[in-house]
Amino acid sequence: MPPKNKGGGRAKAAEPAQQEPPKQPQTVRELEWQRYYDTNPHQKAYEELGLHGMTPADRQAYLNQEYLKPGAAKTLSNKAQKELWKQLNESNLPLRSLPRPRDSHWGRDKNGRDIGDYTIEEYGAHEAKTTKLLNLFFQSQAFKSKREKASNGDGHLVGDTVQPFTCTEDDFEREKVRRKEMADLQQDLYSVKTDPYALDPEWDDVVPIPQVEPEGALAAIAYPDEYAEAMSYLRAVMAVKEHTPRCLRLTERIISLNPAHYTVWLYRFSIVKALNIAIPDDIEWLNEVSLTYIKNYQIWNHRQLLLDHYYPTIVTSPSEVAALGDSERQFLERMLEEDAKNYHVWSYRQYLVRKLGLWDEEERQSIEALLDEDVRNNSAWSHRFFVAFSDPAHATPGSHATEPDPRVPAGVVDREVAYAQAKILLAPQNQSPWNYLKGALVKGGRKLGSVREFSEQFVTNLGGVGDAEEEVRSSHALDLLADIYKEAGEKEKADLALRRLGEKWDRIRKGYWEYRRKMLE
């Protein structure tokens, strides 16, 4: 007895496109449908005519085939099952009918195209790539396993002897090529970018520590992938204080992306020490970085650390110390060409002068060259003051910048006073040398009155009107004169100078000149 048709016969309204597979399939989807109908020969008739429209023989064959689907036959009684197998045996049905294709199973490629719409040739090429990727993956796994065995000192049997596993340079190079190939395929097939560190077998043993941050954090930055990845590796190696060449390279990467990172520099220095890197090499690298990140702050601390570390190793060789002084000065000149008032550079220069004892003529000459170029460069003036009045050869250690130092020779004070005066004459309204002049007098313990005549040449007929009209060529001269008159006890004259500054010659500071007038009392 043939199995009963339990469901009643109602053909499912199938989509026309699927009903009519073209003779020659163009796409892989069409090919799949064609194979489906080929292995389900009565399906077509069923879909087109319905159970009742089919010939009885076709109907029987169709139903038998339905029972072939997994599990379906078990719903029949034992007897009915026996009958089914008998009929199937006689009907010559393909026993391996393919399941009905699901249109969504192909997925889309990186461009959003349905892979089912690929031509047969396109699909072939796609398949070849995925297969290749899988093969490379297995080879890569094999490399990792071999490397691990090699590092554990495991051995394997070769003939009668146990040979240790080895992982050669060549293995590494091949693995690098392999990863690159895998990354290209990933990119090509899935548009998936492989991070550079994941590409490098050298970094396999590091488990990166990515940043975790709550939703809606403050001042969040759209980190580029390369930065986020490099940071997660940096965090991992810094956390375990690894000091190896690969970490040194990683610090360079981070510094190029974020030179203001406040711990990576100290980390770099600890690696330099641990690996015994030649300090001049790191200085050379640092020079490049400094010229790229002119305003960076951390660079100069690092430079100091390098020098502090290096100096004791050459201190017994005067020629090496001199060479270091030369190369450092040369580099600072280069930095000052970029920005002659860079605060960090000048701070470092002071450190260098103290460290290497560069209180020499050359240092003063080099500042004078800068002042010849721009007499208003106040950074250079400050440095000159430091070199002139902090030289341990004649300065009292720790003498404050604003207090007299009896140890400074009169010749030095004379020279500095004369230098400032010469520069004032070039540009009387430039405040830098006026401040310098006053500072040099105080350091030398001299009275301000010693430059009264010099200062008065910039002021004619103070308070005068009419024929003897007041003329002022430098408000700073008048400012200093107010102090000179006060020092000499000529309070009224001092007051007049300050009043005229507020009224005419420096009105923007009117409030300040009033303050000074009050200070006279």
């Binding site: 940043q211 975790v212 709550p214 954090a217 403050l218 001042a219 969040a220 930055i221 759209a222 980190y223 580029p224 930065y227 965090r235 956390a239 375990v240 992306l257 974020n258 030179p259 203001a260 990172h261 406040y262 711990t263 100290l266 702050y297 100069w300 601390n301 008032k341 605060y343 000048w346 701070s347 002071q350 208003r376 460069n377 106040n378 950074s379 003036w381 400050s382 440095h383 902090s390 404050h400 910048a401 604003t402 207090e403 309204q429 405040q431 401040n435 006053k438 500072g439 105080v442 060529r473 430098s474 005419k504 010659w505 009105r507 923007i508 500071r509 409030g511 300040y512 303050y515 200070m519």
Partner: protein
């Protein structure tokens, strides 16, 4: 102020700051990654200043509702700031400097103390900004603002940042090396943290006299203050020196009998400092080239022979050093310092205000560093700070839409009061004996679980792993925390 004075367009500034608050910073901000807390501080402090109770012409009935920082934002910001705290004291500059706990803390079995594995991630500037932010976003009177702050650990860490010469660094590494230059900024940050957390009251004070002596050495031959001794005078460092000394005075229990004690001890000549500061302003003239972003060349000094008395209104720009270009932030550094010195009137408000509002204000809100440039959060905030500070001088009109300002902390007066309240809470005698750093309780717990023996075993294990070329932290990561392996067996293996 006369009616011709340009008004501050607060609505536009508020829009600017709200944009900064809500948006993700573009990728080229990566070079600011380590100072995200600082950027965040400027944004939140600006929103606070633009909507603090005193910014309204009539004080709002519900200050929290009137604020541009919503109660939800306050909770969220507070949580974020605290997430940057290092478990062993101090705060980190950004989430990238915060490591998972097992990498941040270690137990020193010899000295029986916990210490930082990665001490250099805590940063002095970050700590300053974090504490102030906690005060700004407090949703009460400030009493609970410092809840969750490791007060004692932070003060101990701060002490270690001080060098023998009295100066401070910004970080300290595991070898005890203090990193960062001898920079006046760190002196100010240290003095603020000490005041806010009540350093002397906690018995964890640094060497105040050494700090004052260090600051004192910073005054230069021209009356200004430098980064440190004998360097070039700089208005920003002058601010740091004076503000640091003011905070030492603020924390001085004998302030009533010795006002400005530290200020006078730390500045050899206040009058020459006033001279230096007053000289930072100059008549700003538009330069012919208006190239954006280009560092403007400095203006040559006026030729006095062509000086006329015609009453062209003056625009006063400020520079930070002699013969440098005008820069918005120096209006603040100079005026803020003069105000703390009690000499704010030395600067004429109207021309200084004009520079900020007519030259530095940007069409999208905010202020630029130089006229014609793009706004940035740093100059946009310090421009507001300058305006608020100049308005605080006696006899001056209020700056419409801006709140009152505390120049010592560089935040709104009300936020500053909340920080002061948070400090008071710390100083109040505790209700029970438990210390905020749970030091006492941990000791007990450690005895109960036989901690010391365990640590010895772990030390042995660590040595063993190291000998095997393994990384101890990673090995321990593999353990199931609920079912740890038998250490004795492991160590004996």
């Amino acid at each position: 102020m006369t009616s011709e004075e340009p008004p501050l367009d607060t609505a536009r500034h508020i829009r600017y700051w709200q944009r900064c608050f809500r948006s993700l910073l573009p990728h080229h901000y990566v070079s600011n990654d380590s100072i995200r807390l600082t950027l965040g501080f400027f944004i939140v402090a600006a929103l606070d200043l633009l909507s603090s109770p005193s910014s309204y012409s009539e004080p709002p009935r519900d200050p929290l509702k009137a604020s541009l920082i919503t109660p939800d934002d306050r909770k969220r910001l507070r949580a974020w700031v605290l997430s940057l705290q290092h478990p062993q004291g101090g705060f980190c500059g950004s989430p990238h400097h915060v490591l998972p706990e097992q990498y941040a803390t270690k137990w020193d079995a010899i000295n029986k103390v916990e210490s930082a594995r990665d001490p250099a991630n805590a940063n002095i500037a970050a700590t300053y900004f974090a504490l102030l932010l906690l005060g700004i976003v407090a949703d009460d009177d400030g009493s609970s603002a410092f809840e969750g702050v490791h007060r004692i650990k932070t003060l101990r860490w701060l002490k270690k940042l001080q060098r023998d010469d009295g100066s401070f660094g910004e970080i300290i590494d595991e070898d005890g090396y203090v990193g960062g230059g001898r920079d006046m900024r760190y002196c100010y940050l240290a003095a603020t943290i000490r005041w806010a957390l009540g350093g002397p009251e906690a018995g964890e004070d640094f060497d105040v006299d050494a700090l004052v002596a260090h600051i004192r050495r910073g005054q230069t031959f021209d009356g200004g203050v430098a980064e440190s001794s004998m360097h070039e005078s700089h208005a920003g460092y002058a601010y740091c020196a004076v503000a640091a000394l003011s905070l030492l005075d603020l924390a001085n229990p004998n302030a009533a009998t010795q006002p400005n004690h530290y200020l006078h001890a730390g500045i050899p000549s206040v009058s020459s400092l006033v001279h230096f500061l007053a000289c930072r302003q100059f008549d700003y003239l538009d330069s012919s080239s208006d190239e954006e972003n280009a560092e403007p060349s400095t203006q040559p000094p006026p030729d006095l022979s062509t000086l006329t008395l015609s009453d062209t209104p003056i625009t006063a720009g400020f520079n930070g050093r002699l013969n440098k270009a005008a820069d918005t932030c120096y209006t603040w550094w100079v005026c803020g310092t003069l105000t703390m010195l009690g000499e704010g009137r030395v600067v004429d408000r109207s021309p200084a205000r004009k520079f900020i509002l007519e030259k530095a204000q940007h069409i999208i809100g905010g202020f630029a560093k130089h006229p014609g440039g793009p706004p940035d959060v740093y100059h946009a905030y310090l421009g507001l700070a300058a305006l608020a500070t100049m308005a605080s001088e006696e006899g001056q009109d209020k700056e419409e839409g801006l709140g009152q300002f505390d120049p010592r902390l560089c935040i709104s007066r009300e936020a500053s009061e909340r920080v002061a309240k948070a400090r008071e809470t710390l100083l109040a005698p505790p209700e029970d004996e438990s210390d905020d750093d749970w030091g006492y309780d941990t000791e007990k717990v450690k005895q109960e679980i036989n901690w010391d023996e365990t640590q010895k075993l772990i030390a042995r294990l660590e040595a063993k792993w190291k000998a095997e070329g393994k990384i101890p932290v990673l090995e321990m990561d593999k353990w199931n925390p609920y079912d740890p392996p038998n250490l004795e067996e492991l160590a004996a293996e």
